[in-house]
């Protein structure tokens, strides 16, 4: 399995576990589906919760200015962002 496949899967697992989405299987989250607003319908506090989980999981520090709509719009964009940090 390539690195590129592992990151989206890890992110999806984090989304389900850190945001209390019990009953949702990580595989059910589409790579390109919107996470905020519509789609999963997450909000600003969910985003911040996810940031804390991502920082821990990937050992990175995410600056406040980076927590924006584009990076966090989907699992794919998040994955791209995280890979670029490594």
């Amino acid at each position: 399995m390539s690195e590129a496949q592992a990151t989206p899967a890890r992110i999806k697992r984090l989304i389900v576990s850190s945001l209390n989405l019990d009953g949702m299987r990580p595989e059910m989250i589409d790579d390109h589906a919107p996470l905020f607003g519509e789609g999963l319908g997450l909000d600003s506090v969910d985003a911040l919760e996810l940031v804390v989980a991502l920082e821990k999981e990937f050992g990175i520090k995410i600056k406040s200015q980076e927590i924006g709509r584009e990076v966090f719009s989907s699992v794919a964009s998040l994955s791209q962002y995280i890979e670029s940090r490594n």
């Binding site: 909000d43 506090v45 911040l48 940031v51 804390v52 406040s64 927590i67």
Partner: protein
Amino acid sequence: MGRMPTTSDSRRVVVTGVGAVCGFGWGVEPLETGLRAGATALLPFSRFDHSRHRTHLAAQVPEPPSGVAASFPAWRRLTQADRFALFAAAEAVSQAGLAAPLGPAAGVFFGSSTGGMFETELFYRELARKGGRPRLSALASQPVSGPGDAVGRHLQVAGPVRTISSACSSATLALGAALDAIRAGEVEVAIAGGSDSLCQLTYAGFNSLRAVAEGPCRPFREGRDGMSIGEGAAVFVLEPLALALQRGALPLAELAGAGSCCDAHHMTAPDPAGEGAAAAVEAALADAGVAAGRVDFVNAHGTGTPLNDAAEWRALERVFGPRGRLLPLTATKGAVGHLLGSAGAIEALATLLCLRAGEVHPTPGDGPVDPALPLALVTGRPLPLRAEVAVSVNLAFGGSNAALVLSRFPAPADRAA
């Protein structure tokens, strides 16, 4: 002073004493001096190790002047929040010319968001330390009713004592509850205010929301990027005007009205349309019997976060209309930080000091006001203004908005009598 009370005085409630503790020091005087100078008490602090927190500033209360500890029994066993509360209450009661025991005609109405949490955290620090000995007794300080109860005990109050813990509007609501209690005849003296101390729970908590600015907060300024945290207490002695005059007390100002209203919108984000906040201000004005057009300046909640200040500006627009853009506006959080559960009290006190001094204190820091929020922010130096009526606003985390109307005493009608 010396004026005979009239029957129309019966519903009026005045402030006869005030006390404070904040980052500028112990007492009302350091607070007033710091505010007038446009100074800030937001600095690197030492209350706890913040090296692993995301930000590093706070408005920490300095060590008390010598002699303070000795004047309160069991000072060493008191929490920080208790100490701030007791000092401020004692200062206020002394100014009012009252003394313990205050008895059944007196009540305590207090606000706090974390009470003795700082002392509770010592348990967790020990828990984390290798070879540490965490003692469960450290957790006894957790209930937020601690500081209010401590004031009740110290002043030997026998009337109602209660603590409100509604985040950032706690003390504002407490002052409102005190106003209600006096008007209802439930008490003749109300000791009202709030106290909160720095603690890692709130410091890390607000940081987890990425809501804390790296530098001192800059309410309503362009490019503002978050709040700053402070600690301290402020206490008011409130009495019915008739009784205050009867006993020869000197009213410092009048607490003319209070109002509150929930957003019922979101747990952390304010309603961007500012409707709940506007409704709270309007309710306070209605309670005071004062039209919006008579307000001379506003002490805003002004945390310095992009969202809060924008929502608050919307709210002020709704209440004051186009005139809102010209109404002098000040905010204390750039000076003393956000005092959380006691913010409402210290900000009401700042408002009172402006009324008495005939000038509105500036907001510290530089940079232009956010062009998206046209308003008359007072900056640089105090603005000379012989105000008669002012409004102080607080918008809480969780959406509980509250406002107070304070007016100069004697009012024009009193002076004409």
